[in-house]
Structure formats: C-alpha cells, structure tokens
Assembly symmetry: D3
Homo-oligomer: 69 residues x 6
C-alpha cells in the first residue's frame, strides 16, 4: 500500500508505553532523532510492534507546523 | 514559549512552494531526512521563512502514525 | 506497508479538484457513501490518482468525531 | 447545528471501549463498513452514546489520506 | 446535531479569504479573541458564511496544544 | 520560539485530569471562554502545568472547523 502522507520516516521502535486505550510509541530515527507517536493499543498489537523492530513514523504534511527561534 | 508538542525537530528550510491560502514548506533535517509541512501563506510571512534559514518541524504526537513493512 | 490508522476504507476515485498546493479528492465507497479528502497536489500525482481508479480513504481514529441528532 | 466537516457518515454505535481519559467508539455504517473513533470519555457521556444507538462519524476532509495498492 | 468536539466557541465571521480549494475564515470571539480556520471553499459556500454572520469555531480537544512562557 | 500555528490564546489552567497516557487540560480564557485540550501526561509534567498557572491554548488553523445554527 502506498499512502498520500508525504512524511514516511524509517527507524526502529525504542520504547512502548501502554495506556488503557492509547499507547505511546517512541521511534528512533537515523541521525539521533526521535519521534513520539500516540496510537491505539489495538494498533500496537495488530502491527506487532516491539522494541528493536523496524518501523516508520508516518505524518500527513498538513499536521506539521513550523517554528523559528 | 515552550509547547506541549512532543516532536520538535531542528533543521533548515530547503524549499517553499506558495499557494493561494496555504504554502508547502520543505525542512531538511540532520541525517538526510526531510519533512514536508503545509502551513498558511500568512504564517510563512510572519515567521520570515526563507530557503537556507534554520527552522523546526513541530508535530503533536497524536498526529503521528506508525507503519511496518 | 501496514499502517496504524484504524480506518482504511476501500472505494474508487470519483472526482479530483486540483488547487495550487492542495487538491480535493472524492472517494466513492460501497453502499453509496462518499468521502472527501484534501491532500497535496504532489500526492495526487505520486499516487497516480485518476477518476475511476480504486483507492482507499485512510483516517487515524483520533481524527474521527461522533455526532448525534 | 450545521458543520463545515465534509464527511458526515450515518451509522449506529457497535461498541464502546472506555479508557481513563479517552474512549474508543466503533460505528457501524451501511454496506458493512465500520469506523473507529477516539473521543473523550466525557463526550461519550454528554452525547449519551450507547450500543445500538444511531450516531454519525464526522471527519474534516483535511484529515483524510488516500492510499493505493 | 450535537457533536463530540469539546470546544464550540460562538462568535461571528470577521473575514473570509478564498483560495483555490481551501479558504481562510477569521472568527471574532467575545473578549476580543480571534480564531483562524482553514476549511474547504465548498464548505464556506454550503454553510452560507459571510462577514458579520454568527458562526462557531469547533475544535476537537485532541487538536489543542498547550504552551507556557 | 515562534510557531506557525495561527491560534495562540492566552489563559490559565483551570483543571487537569490525568489519564494513563494522555491527560485532559482545561484552559480558562478571557471573556468566560474555556478550551479543553488532550495532551500527553509527559507534556503536562515537562511544561510544569498546574491549576492557576498561565498557559496558552495553541491550535493549527487547519484543525478548526466552522459551524452555523
């Protein structure tokens, strides 16, 4: 499946913090960057996410803001 | 100002494509990564964005999805 | 690629309205339902979207609201 | 009240999974489709949602992505 | 229609800036506050929005970030 | 830091409802208005949010819908 989301960043799962409905997933990217994601607990299970496994952070471009110092 | 958005990635502006109401801004991150953002044309102006200038991509963690191969 | 977004609805492209940066894409679903999507013009091109072609509407569950009469 | 969100899909509540702050609501649409929504627990209460009751899934078009095989 | 979005702020339309697919709508709230919204041009038309008319800004709580100085 | 989000509303924290992964934060604005936000529990901690403290509600304009009676 190819998706319209313009930002698809490859990394690996660094940490999963499960909640009651949502879980927090930390993805480690190349260059020392990290991305935090909140997805449903069911998605964590259905994707088979686990620490150390490769995964992509996917972000629709309309959800990305820009900031300057 | 310190914001609750968990993802604040430092890079620099690589390209700006202006539209009528929204503009597309491409941010170059360390490690060869790139992030595309859609913000209003007025925000591009009020932040003084220009190619080559440092800028942050800011993303609320609830907007980040995860994918696997 | 398998994505965490819980809502992946199969249909076909009914109409594409191009703008300057964003385009509007209308997806026809089974049962007479329709879904309108705003994605970037570049995504319309890179996905090769065209009227009549099969496509999925993909929606993160945290973006879905509920209403009652 | 009439809202700008372009996607208003009529169905009925199939399942409610309550969390601590957010709850997951599954809406059954015509044609066998289903939509999963994450809304606050307080909204589930204030709307009086219950399994079997009619409800709409409401989605802003800028939140809908498109995918192809 | 009653919606799950927790933030429904009553005001009136102060300005509409039409684009090719999206339009920018400025809502004036009590207390001198203003809210900027980007919705589709078609929604501006179907809601019959016009400067001076009463309107609500509607925001899902998961889309609201918090910042401090 | 200056951000592209067009809606930055100054108020103070009225209530914090912690969940397992996300927390609900209620901001009181001038003119008697209130805004509800869902952010991660970690963000509540890292921002040092507490009842009575000044805070901003920050909303990207593409996340704001409009409604009429």
């Amino acid at each position: 499946m190819k998706i319209s989301a313009r930002n698809i960043l490859k990394g690996k799962v660094k940490k999963i913090t499960p909640g009651s409905v949502n879980s927090e997933v930390l993805i480690e990217l190349p260059g020392g960057l990290e991305i935090t994601s909140i997805i449903t607990k069911k998605s964590v299970e259905s994707l088979g996410l686990a620490v150390g496994k490769p995964a992509y952070a996917v972000i629709k471009s309309s959800e990305v803001m820009i900031a300057v110092d």
